[in-house]
């Protein structure tokens, strides 16, 4: 099937909107041909995962687009950077690496992306709505958007994400189309105790198992008695998209496209049916534990990115002290704290050496108080130019010495 381009697609491809859009459109159309798409379609949002500095190629790609004057055509959020941009000196990272990681962040901001720096963009105000066509990258975000929100995104790879954002167009294939969103594999929970189904630890284990079984197919999970929380669904999806390539799951009676078993399969027959037993779950649980010994060396909270609700749960008085306190590493976590604080949800540890509510994963010195932490906030996400400063305990601090290419 030959790819048909609209007049505006053609204008992008022939460079009438500049060299950056032309390059982006060239990549989008070549991918459309790989998928045998007959058309491109509009999107109204994008999420970019190519923000982590891995090496020279990713940086060259971003800076080349930025230097050619690329601008995103739709509201676009950014995934995490590998760099703790304000406190990187406190980490064992070389200055050269930090500098390049920062250049990559600046390149994407200069294209007009919102500096959200989160792998859970569905926890921001950019959360997509049911049926919204988007181009999202980042496996946990993709599966959440499709499954839990009923938004529509393919499983976009890094680098294609920004090309879709610049052109506002995607190949009209896969999960963008209703007929491709039907369940394929039925996984029936058999004799899984209701008490277990309510436990947070159940969902990543189930997700790990779902991903291993479903691989790149669409699983439908039936027989769940509990009503899982959004955080539990997030954990299920994140695990399934890691152990497999799951981009959409249906949970009968829970997720929006699965009010009934028949609806989840769009009234087609499952290609495969599998019973999931407690033994299967125990086996999956064992697979997830790779460490030995009893000594706990590090606790990492927030993968995917901590939610406000999770921050609130962690705010319960902790059972034991750990030395120092932890500080959220990225913007959205700081925002979560700010929101939590203004909603009266933040609880102060009696002792500053307790785990601080809303914490992500960076350990700093033990002096800063809760009040100071609450001051750490990202100014409301706006395009790069406006959000190059963070409010910090010591006042505004520039994100970087350099300036974005657009402002030079």
């Amino acid at each position: 099937m030959a790819l048909k381009l609209s007049r505006s697609d053609d204008a992008l491809l022939t460079g009438k909107h500049g060299p950056a859009a032309q390059r982006a459109m060239s990549i989008v159309t070549r991918m459309a041909e790989v998928h045998g798409a007959s058309d491109l379609m509009d999107i109204t949002g994008a999420h970019i995962d190519s923000t982590i500095y891995i090496g020279e190629a990713g940086l060259e790609f971003a800076e080349r687009l930025a230097s050619l004057g690329a601008q995103v055509a739709v509201p676009t959020t950014l995934n995490v950077s590998g760099l703790d941009e304000h406190h990187w000196q406190e980490w064992a990272v070389p200055a050269d690496w930090a500098h390049k990681a920062h250049r990559q962040m600046i390149a994407y901001q200069s294209m007009g992306c919102l500096p959200t720096w989160t792998c859970a963009p569905y926890q921001t105000e950019m959360r997509p709505s049911f049926g919204q066509q988007i181009a999202w990258c980042e496996s946990n975000a993709i599966v959440f958007a499709n499954s839990v929100l009923g938004a529509r995104t393919e499983r976009y790879p890094d680098l294609l994400d920004i090309c879709c954002a610049i052109t506002g167009r995607v190949p009209a294939v896969g999960l963008h189309l209703t007929e491709n969103r039907a369940g394929e594999i039925l996984m029936r929970l058999v004799d899984v105790p209701p008490a277990l189904q309510k436990d947070d630890s159940f969902y990543p284990v189930l997700g790990h198992l779902v991903g291993k079984i479903a691989q790149d197919r669409i699983p439908v999970i039936d027989g769940l008695a509990a009503q899982p929380s959004e955080d539990q669904l997030k954990a299920l999806g994140a695990a399934a998209s890691s152990s497999g390539a799951v981009a959409l799951f249906h949970l009968v009676g829970v997720t929006p496209e699965a009010p009934t078993l028949e609806a989840a399969f769009q009234h087609r027959a499952p290609k495969r049916e599998i019973d999931v037993t407690l033994d299967d779950l125990r086996q999956a649980r064992r697979e997830l534990t790779t460490a030995g010994g009893e000594q706990l060396h590090m606790v990492v909270l927030g993968s995917p990115h901590f939610s406000l609700a999770a921050a609130d749960r962690e705010a319960r008085p902790p059972g034991r002290e750990i030395p120092g306190h932890l500080e959220p590493r990225d913007g959205a976590a700081r925002q979560a704290i700010r929101l939590s604080s203004s909603a009266g949800g933040i609880r102060r540890a009696r002792d500053r050496r307790h785990v601080h509510p809303g914490l992500a994963d960076a350990a700093t010195g033990g002096q800063a108080a809760d009040d100071e932490l609450c001051e750490v906030r990202l100014l409301h996400p706006r395009p790069a130019r406006c959000a190059r400063h963070l409010r910090q305990p010591g006042g505004l601090r520039a994100l970087c010495r350099g300036r974005s290419s657009r402002e030079r």
Partner: protein
């Protein structure tokens, strides 16, 4: 493997090299060291193997969408597989190959094989990949599938 297998061309190109095959999908993010070309996912059957310059055959790219970015780094560093064989048109590998072409004029040939043909691949076999998607074994090999 048999003498000739015909794959569906996802990204056209010529290559030759030793086959490295597994039925387990692979994530390059956390699974491939682009500095050395080594497969470093310690749960993967190919863990410890060097895929650089070889014809890598995995059913599809599992997990993180960052697979694409890591593969592009490998192309730039000269540690990418010579070609990649999958069982379906894998968009992660395809995109990395397209961007490698656009930026460095070095696309990675990518073919999708029927599952039956994929199962005939044997690690260690030396193959030549042609632009029309045929995979021809160059000499007999005694190596086994990994």
């Amino acid at each position: 493997m048999g003498n000739v297998i015909r794959g569906r061309v996802i990204i056209r190109g010529r290559a030759k090299g030793e086959v490295l095959v597994s039925r387990e999908p692979l994530s390059f993010w956390g699974g491939y060291d682009y500095r050395t070309g080594e497969i470093i996912d310690r749960r993967h059957p190919l863990s410890g193997h060097i895929a650089s310059g070889r014809v890598l055959a995995v059913p599809f790219a599992r997990g993180s969408s960052t697979t694409t970015a890591v593969l592009l780094e490998a192309v730039r560093a000269g540690t990418a597989p010579a070609a990649i064989l999958t069982t379906s048109a894998d968009s992660f590998f395809a995109l990395a190959s397209i961007v490698a072409d656009e930026m460095y004029a070095k696309p990675i040939p990518l073919l999708a094989l029927e599952p039956g043909d994929f199962a005939r691949l044997r690690t260690g076999a030396r193959v030549r990949i042609h632009e029309d998607g045929t995979i021809v074994e160059e000499e007999t090999s005694t190596a086994n599938e990994t």
